[in-house]
């Protein structure tokens, strides 16, 4: 009896579910991924499966297969893309090993009438779509948040990423731009934390004795927990440390929040951005007019959303969010 009820219910749900345009029901989308060796990429692939499997089952698209190259090499990914052309995919969603070295293969795909959408690791070939991260904005947002929360301003400690990587330059440029607009803040120190908690902890512990009182720490993600440990070990008053959505950072924040009402925010890119790229590709196949350059929305966690995000974040992982078709349409509309 109950089984029959459930069957009926699920049938009704399936019928009643908002059906996407039937235009893409025969289209096949492939994910070309160059690397799967860290938690972010693993989460990215899991998100892809989680969102595309129901989409395929519902007939929104015919297939959404994920491919990862055996080695993180541009030449190998170029061959992979050319194989996808032969396999007759209608769209290729790609996280590229190199922004330029795949351009030849991507041009071949475009010439074969295939829609190419790159995200995270984007490509420069003009015929492809790009879903890029505005790292500069990510840096600036931190200072804007602090300016709002700390009307008196104060001293900032900046933790940077890996020297020489473009992401590090971009986020740092955003932070400095934010500070220039809010003269009540002064950056009193800057260290490289290499996006790793242990490196950040050592670097902050090293510079702390030479610093005046620090009101807040601006970061790049993956370094907030280490910074907190360094401040605690030095016996200094705990500044406002901007977090980067890592599980250890969120957990520490939650502990502090419960203990003494500690307030901060956390911002980073969700690995589920692969699903955003999937829906964008689907929208393009559907004949929608989509601008070639789109921006990934940040996944921002605030005081009130902390618990919900921490609950869904795997131990040792990164806070994640999967995107829906509606989210993709919103991003596309926002870029027009």
């Amino acid at each position: 009896m109950t089984t029959r009820m459930m069957l009926l219910l699920s049938a009704a749900l399936a019928l009643g579910a908002p059906q996407a345009m039937a235009d893409t029901s025969g289209k096949k989308i492939a994910l070309s991924n160059n690397y799967a060796g860290n938690s972010w990429r693993q989460a990215m692939l899991t998100s892809w499966d989680k969102i595309t499997a129901p989409a395929v089952a519902a007939g929104t698209v015919a297939a959404a297969d994920a491919f990862t190259t055996a080695e993180n090499q541009a030449t190998e990914q170029a061959a992979q893309i050319q194989n996808m052309i032969l396999q007759g995919y209608d769209a290729i969603v790609i996280n590229a090993a190199s922004p330029t070295a795949l351009n030849g293969a991507i041009k071949e795909a475009c010439d074969a009438g295939i829609t190419v959408v790159s995200f995270d690791g984007i490509v420069t070939e003009p015929c492809a779509w790009r879903i890029a991260v505005n790292f500069k904005q990510m840096g600036k947002d931190q200072v804007t948040y602090l300016a709002d929360k700390m009307p008196d301003g104060g001293n900032l400690l900046e933790i940077r990423g890996l020297a020489g990587v473009f992401v590090d330059d971009e986020i740092s440029a955003g932070i400095h731009e934010g500070v220039a607009e809010n003269p009540k803040f002064t950056i009193v120190g800057s260290v490289h934390g290499d996006w790793a908690q242990d490196v950040a902890q050592k670097a902050v512990a090293g510079i702390l004795p030479s610093l005046p009182e620090v009101a807040a720490v601006v970061t790049q993600g993956g370094d907030g927990y280490g910074a907190a440990q360094a401040f605690a070990a030095a016996g200094r008053p705990m500044p406002k440390i901007i977090m980067g959505n890592r599980e250890d950072e969120l957990k520490w924040w939650k502990e502090q929040k419960d203990a003494n009402g500690y307030e901060t925010m956390s911002v980073s890119i969700a690995p589920g951005v692969s699903t955003l790229a999937f829906w964008v590709a689907q929208q393009i196949l559907d004949g929608k007019d989509v601008p070639k350059d789109l921006t990934v929305p940040f996944l921002r966690i605030d005081q009130d959303t902390l618990e919900a995000n921490l609950a869904t974040t795997q131990a040792g992982g990164v806070a994640n969010v999967e995107y829906s078709q509606e989210d993709a349409i919103k991003v596309i509309e926002g870029a027009k």
Partner: protein
Amino acid sequence: MRLSSETLRLLVPALSLAALLAGVFWLQPRAMSYTGLNLLFNLAVPIALATIAQMIIMAVNDLDLSLGTFVSFVACVAATFLHDTPLLGLLILAASIAVYAGLGVVIHLRNLPSIVVTLGMSFVWAGLAVLILPAPGGTAPTWARAVMTAKPPLFPMAIWASLGVAVLAHLLLMRSSLGVLIRGVGGNQRSVERAGWSVVRARALAYALAACFAVAAGIALVGLTTSADANIALRYALLSIAGVILGGGEFTGGRISPIGAVIGALTLTLAGSFLSFLRISPDWQIGAQGAILIAVLALRLALNRLEKGRAR
């Protein structure tokens, strides 16, 4: 009918290529077309050129571990200097070929292990590549792009280019006196020396010739990708060694087979496509690629036994 040992040596790689090709066609009939063949094989052209370069080094009993970074370096030069200031670009490439010849001389005179010297050089080439192109970019010279994307009659460019490389390498190494000298150095250096030939010169020439093929590989690669990246060809060092061995060459003794090496490079490329068409999970792909390699090599070993048995 008795086959010569050279033909027998070529038979295994040729048959494995044919078997893989049949498998690919069966899995993906779309590949059985002009564009299909081009897509399957065009990235094999730079690998084939790099494999020939490696083969020439192996012909003098040496091994070049810097080939991957050297091809990357050439790709960076091709996408920047060769495109913007062709003359300067050519000059840089000529200088790098001279450096290779110099390496041959140093390795011979000081009796250094080539693996160590080329491993050291690989860092030099990688550093230069990053200096030239700190961030991925650059533009392929229009002529390189035109050559690599040309649509010649009958067969796609990838097939013609592979054939051309195979024939050219065969003539250079198997039919010319320079080729005999180079292989002689690998076979028996002392007898070549006693016969009055300069082994230093032969080794320098072998290295320079290898560099020429590696330069061609870099330019061909940029012609395909349209722009470069300092890490673009890192895999070529090991791929080229595998290609030579797969094609019937050997690490020592100057036993090489240019046509086999090109076939070996094509087989390696095709093996990747074959596995991807089979939808094997990426976690297993490296292993499966290795399994194909081992299978082909085992087959060759068996044939070698047969060959020896008959010679007795």
